[in-house]
Symmetry: C2
Subunit: 370 residues, 2 copies
């Protein structure tokens, strides 16, 4: 073969062997640019020590041919897919409880942003491991929201050697790579103190029947607090995945003979549920009943009255979880522990203040001043 004809072989209009018509491959680019496929790869990936001219030329040709590298081939070769799994523990029949609470949506959004910013994409996966889908997608790692104790998905993933970071302190000895969580205990204690300071004498709790960490820690904190201040616990539980059940439970709580004069609701919809229940019983908020619920929803800023909420800062959690996971994937070593505690925020509004901050009546005004 003559030197001149070095890569002329497949140049010209040779239309590729099997030639899936349409998409150009790396060899087409190489041929069209008159270089080897290595040079194309290097030029496009910013590797090697090519002269700028070559690099530019190759990029131009690739662009002109509409060349798109095959993600599958790259993944197979490099062992990295750039894909991160996202799983949410399911409560009902649905594969996940995305919408039930604004929390998940917010968290997922932040996680997606953070992943995208570092060149990764999120794949939404079901919480059940038997699903074929899990083995059909090449994952670099996984984010697990609220893993249950002995979670089979986590166990399997770890066995495969994949990094797993959980949102929510893993129960038991679940071997996650890292986790991010709030200090639920502290948050609840603070909040109860806040209610007590606002004049509450008997604080009730609206909680869940599920055994996830969040529910468990929050409820335990409540019981401890009651014990500490010598109040008899007053609470109602319901299956948190069922939105109707929340309203019923709220009603039950306010129907009790030992009716609380303040209530904390663990779940997002509890605010409106409790408000509606209070209305049915002719209870004024905050005069007769103080209200706080854990929620990320902005509607509570404009309810009548606005309701104090505890924010778990899902955005910060989503971001942190993804950073930790990608660090693990890319082998970044962490000095500190692989646990990260995100502070919560109590957003105090009218519903938990016996005396509203301002007693002066403001005229109709633009509400931007919040």
């Amino acid at each position: 073969m003559t030197a001149a004809g070095k890569h002329q072989v497949s140049r010209a209009e040779t239309p590729r062997r099997g030639g899936r018509q349409g998409r150009a491959g790396i060899r087409d680019v190489a041929a069209a640019a008159g270089v080897s496929i290595t040079t194309v790869s290097d030029a496009l990936n910013g590797k090697g020590r090519l002269p700028d001219a070559t690099r530019r030329h190759v990029r131009e040709v690739a662009e002109r041919l509409g060349y798109r590298p095959s993600a599958a081939a790259r993944t197979l070769r490099t062992g990295k897919s750039g894909l991160i799994g996202l799983t949410v523990t399911t409560y009902g029949d649905e594969p996940f409880t995305f919408t039930e609470f604004a929390y998940f949506a917010e968290m997922a959004r932040a996680a997606t942003s953070a992943a995208l910013a570092r060149g990764y994409a999120l794949v939404i996966l079901p919480a059940t491991s038997r699903h074929d889908v899990w083995s059909n997608v090449a994952l670099d790692g996984t984010v697990v929201i609220d893993p249950s104790d002995q979670d089979p998905v986590v166990t399997e993933l770890v066995r495969q050697g994949l990094p797993v970071v959980s949102d929510g302190r893993p129960a038991g000895t679940l071997p996650v790579t890292a986790w991010v969580d709030n200090d639920h205990r502290a948050a609840v204690l603070d909040l109860l103190d806040h209610l007590a300071a606002a004049g509450a004498r008997r604080i009730g709790l609206l909680t869940g029947t599920t055994t996830d960490t969040y529910t468990r820690l929050s409820t335990t904190a409540y019981l401890h607090w009651c014990e500490r201040v010598g109040q008899a616990p007053v609470y109602e539980s319901y299956p948190a995945h069922d939105p109707c059940a929340g309203a019923v439970a709220a009603d039950r709580l306010l129907a009790r003979p030992d009716r609380p004069d303040a209530v904390y609701g663990l779940f997002d919809p509890n605010g409106t549920d409790l408000l509606a229940a209070a209305r049915r019983y002719g209870l004024r908020v905050p005069e007769d009943l103080l209200l706080v619920c854990c929620s990320e929803s902005t509607v509570y800023a404009t309810t009548e009255p606005p309701i104090t909420t505890l924010s778990l800062k899902p955005r910060r959690i989503g971001t942190a979880v993804v950073q930790l996971l990608i660090d693990a994937i890319e082998g970044v070593k962490h000095d500190g522990p692989v646990e990260q505690v995100i502070p919560t925020e109590l957003i105090v509004r009218t519903s938990s203040q016996r005396r509203p901050p301002r007693t002066t009546v403001s005229p109709p005004r633009s509400p931007t001043g919040d």
Copy 2:
């Protein structure tokens, strides 16, 4: 080589060449089971005409070794990844507006379920095509929510020969494979008729400044309706991605000298925004002001008063979009058109009825009866 030693070569404890320790490959299974890799592949994928005994044996060995087929290799070989992209047109800086409205979350959830049920997973992707991530993931097709006219992402995907199904009728000549949408025009006309029947004399509109199809069609329908009944249009627009702006616009609308006696808000938070604004102006709902907004949020069932909402049925849309897309991916032919119109639902509550359905005061009761 003796017949007996046929595949003994790599059996024994030969630990694989490069041997990424831990994960077993198809050859390991073949060696351990004393068969060829072809047989393993066939046995595991239910192909070929193997005797049941062989099949069972191979599966057993694979299970014992904890064998997981490489998704990347399979994708490279078959050209199918089982991955579907999901993109949401962005309004602000965030990669997408997931949370802003319950609509997106609901739709995404339904889409995820539907995809999972057919063996596919959803990958969340940014709306901007320049993002590297797009070319880093092997997609079988993409769902695009609310594509803008001439959407570059869609154009590029179609050029690559990938099926694209959009939620929202594509504007202009966007060459999507199929689309699903509501009949926004009919929905708005119906809803305005409903308000007029409830006694509204001057209906106002809270709309957006964006030019997406939903906003445009709804606003146009409103203007047409006004023309038809001879009412002067009364509306305020604001950038829908900014939650604060909504409250301000609601306030502006009710502050007008030609104040409407009924309002339809195009976006999810408008209900609470308008309710708060009405309160500031001392307007009673529904006595002085009838209210309807387009929302999927359940909070409107328990606001004071409950607010009538227009549901776009995001679940049905999400499901339909995914079915259509997977059909296209798998080459299922459709007799009918590739357009699908999902009916909307007007959920009538107190806020749009001059006379509440029941004037009898119910005693405190379980709210399940809804």
